[in-house]
């Protein structure tokens, strides 16, 4: 029996993508937890940074929104949205920023929909919208994407393209006028997908222990290359201990 939840696995896997020196753009929920885990486990000199303008927050308690007062305590600087997005769009600091995003739909090039299902003018389902996601996806050096691994979320064609991934392939971003890098990893509750250096198409990189390549593929609306898939390293005892006891002792996000 595995002694960790899938949410814990996702947070730990994402934390491993973060390196010292990275400036982490955090959203709410699990993306914030992943950044807190990275900071506490493997990348103490990464900088946690919120679109609301908080830089290097202490985070003694887990914030439930990026505007939570908990992000304002003992920061390096309390600014506002203009400064935060300026940091990401800036040619020097933007290169150091890694964004963590989520969405309702993703396509094989890592483009994201967090706006509507159905027609934009008469949507079947309305979601929150871009927030800062489009900006982050447009500006920063690379993005990490959290997704629930469901067929209806991994789609051939987005209903609305909220945030650019690699757009339509290798030259997509350049043709659109975007600088910065695209998505580097998609972390789900089953697997980790990455993007081929040449084609910029999603491929299966890692399956979580006990999860088969077939079941990963079955739960996606498009085919991915599974030939490079390996088994993901489960969380270590130390990783779990820090995640549970230091990052989210109330299990506000871990559930």
């Amino acid at each position: 029996m595995q002694d960790y939840t899938l949410k814990e696995m996702m947070a730990v896997v994402a934390a491993r993508e973060i390196h010292n020196g990275d400036i982490i753009f955090c959203g709410t929920g699990i993306s914030m937890l992943a950044a807190m885990a990275a900071k506490n486990i493997s990348a103490p000199d990464c900088v946690i940074f919120f679109e609301t303008g908080a830089i290097d927050s202490l985070l003694e308690e887990v914030p439930l929104a990026v505007a939570d007062s908990r992000v304002m305590y003992r920061t390096a600087l309390n600014g506002g949205l203009a400064e935060a997005f300026g940091t990401m769009q800036n040619r020097f600091t933007g290169k150091r920023v890694v964004g963590i995003l989520g969405a309702a739909q993703i396509d094989r090039f890592g483009n994201l929909n967090s706006t509507v299902l159905g027609d934009y003018d008469h949507p079947a389902v309305r979601f929150s919208g871009s927030g800062g996601a489009n900006d982050v996806a447009s500006f920063v050096s690379r993005t990490i994407i959290f997704m629930k691994h469901e067929k209806r979320k991994f789609v051939r064609q987005l209903d609305y393209l909220t945030s650019p991934g690699w757009l339509d392939g290798p030259d997509g971003r350049k043709n659109a006028g975007l600088s910065g890098g695209g998505p580097s990893a998609v972390i789900t509750d089953m697997a980790v997908m990455r993007f081929d250096e040449q084609s910029r198409e999603m491929f299966l990189a890692e399956c979580y222990p006990g999860i088969s390549v077939e079941s990963v593929q079955e739960n996606m609306g498009f085919a991915v290359d599974c030939s490079r898939a390996v088994e993901a390293q489960p969380p270590t005892g130390r990783e779990l201990e820090i995640l549970r006891n230091r990052c989210d002792p109330q299990r506000l996000i871990l559930g």
Binding site: S69, R91, T115, R126, G132, S163, A176, L178
Partner: protein, 325 residues
């Protein structure tokens, strides 16, 4: 000084004077923090209709204004309040039912649009939106834009960099300025002249404030001008931008006000429950807003115990170990 005298108003009076049916309006704060909730509830009580609301990620206040039927058009980046409502439910329902017209932007685009209004330029450039449907899908049609002088003719303009490849940039997106009839922000401290101070993150409040023709500032503490001028490095809005100053302690409740009180998790959770069906929401509207006289009475209904629970720790600025499950 025409704009400096007699600004200190009661909330009812400030809202009645500056927020009219059909007004173009923006509000400060972000998701569950420093929303000008007292003013928002007063707008709902006064039954304002057909508001044109500009929001980045204002969260709670947006959902309450939409839920109460005050809003006709909404330009927005994000309709959510963090974990309590990843998508605001009254907002979702209203959009799905076609009860409001909505047009989508990103947070940075909305920030720049307020900033353009504040700076007095018709647009600002950014590199957001390229390749995305934010540019292609307009919430307001070309026809509507032509007949409505308060809407720019185009949602955004994608332009080749007129300086060639300067700044390693081939294309920019120009986003049009917003200027509102009225903007409302809630701050920690203000004086009777209108000088205002925000503690913690300022979000886009300063840009929103300066892009308004009329500005209402509600404040936790009303302090002397002498106190404000003793530490001007902390002040964010100069008095000559302000039309009304309203002293409303707990004026951001149930959202947070850094250094004063936290958001109320119980209220926000209960609100989310009420939003899920229409009869329940009507009950909420009656019991928590319409049948209540003013913010003071609202706070009495909430009770001093709850307000005590969310009182901010003076060191951290939030309520330590608050039960937020």
């Amino acid at each position: 000084m025409e704009k400096e005298a007699g600004k200190l108003l009661e909330l009812k009076e400030a809202v009645a004077r500056f927020v009219f049916d059909g007004a173009h309006i923006s509000i400060g704060g972000f998701t569950l923090n420093r929303n000008p909730m007292a003013a928002v509830y007063e707008i709902i009580r006064q039954g304002r209709r057909d508001l044109h609301l500009y929001a980045h990620s204002n969260g709670q206040a947006v959902d309450e204004l939409v839920g109460a039927g005050c809003v006709r058009r909404l330009e927005i980046a994000y309709g959510g309040t963090g974990r309590f409502a990843p998508t605001c439910i009254r907002f979702r329902k209203a959009v799905q039912a076609g009860m409001i017209q909505v047009e989508d932007y990103s947070n940075y685009q909305m920030t720049l649009r307020f900033m353009a209004g504040a700076m007095g330029v018709p647009f600002l450039p950014c590199r957001s939106g390229l390749g995305s449907d934010l540019i292609h899908h307009w919430g307001f049609s070309e026809d509507l834009r032509k007949t409505e002088s308060r809407l720019p003719d185009e949602k955004m303009v994608v332009m080749d960099n007129p300086f060639g490849s300067w700044g390693e940039t081939a294309k920019v997106v120009l986003v049009p300025a917003i200027t509102t009839d009225v903007t409302i922000i809630h701050v920690q401290k203000a004086d009777a002249l209108g000088n205002a101070r925000i503690a913690g993150l300022s979000f886009a409040d300063v840009e929103q404030a300066k892009s308004a023709e009329h500005l209402i500032v509600t404040c936790e503490e009303l302090v002397s001008t002498d106190e404000m001028k003793a530490d001007p490095d902390r002040n964010c809005i100069p008095f000559f931008c302000v039309d009304a100053v309203v002293h409303v302690p707990h004026g951001a409740y149930p959202t947070a006000c850094y250094g004063y009180y936290d958001y109320d998790p119980a209220y926000l959770k209960q609100f989310a429950d009420y939003t899920r069906d229409d009869p329940a929401y009507e009950t909420y509207l009656q019991d928590y807003i319409l049948r209540i006289d003013d913010h003071e009475s609202f706070l009495e209904k909430i009770g001093s115990e709850t307000l005590g629970d969310i009182e901010a720790d003076p060191e951290t600025g939030y309520a330590n170990n608050l039960d937020r499950r």
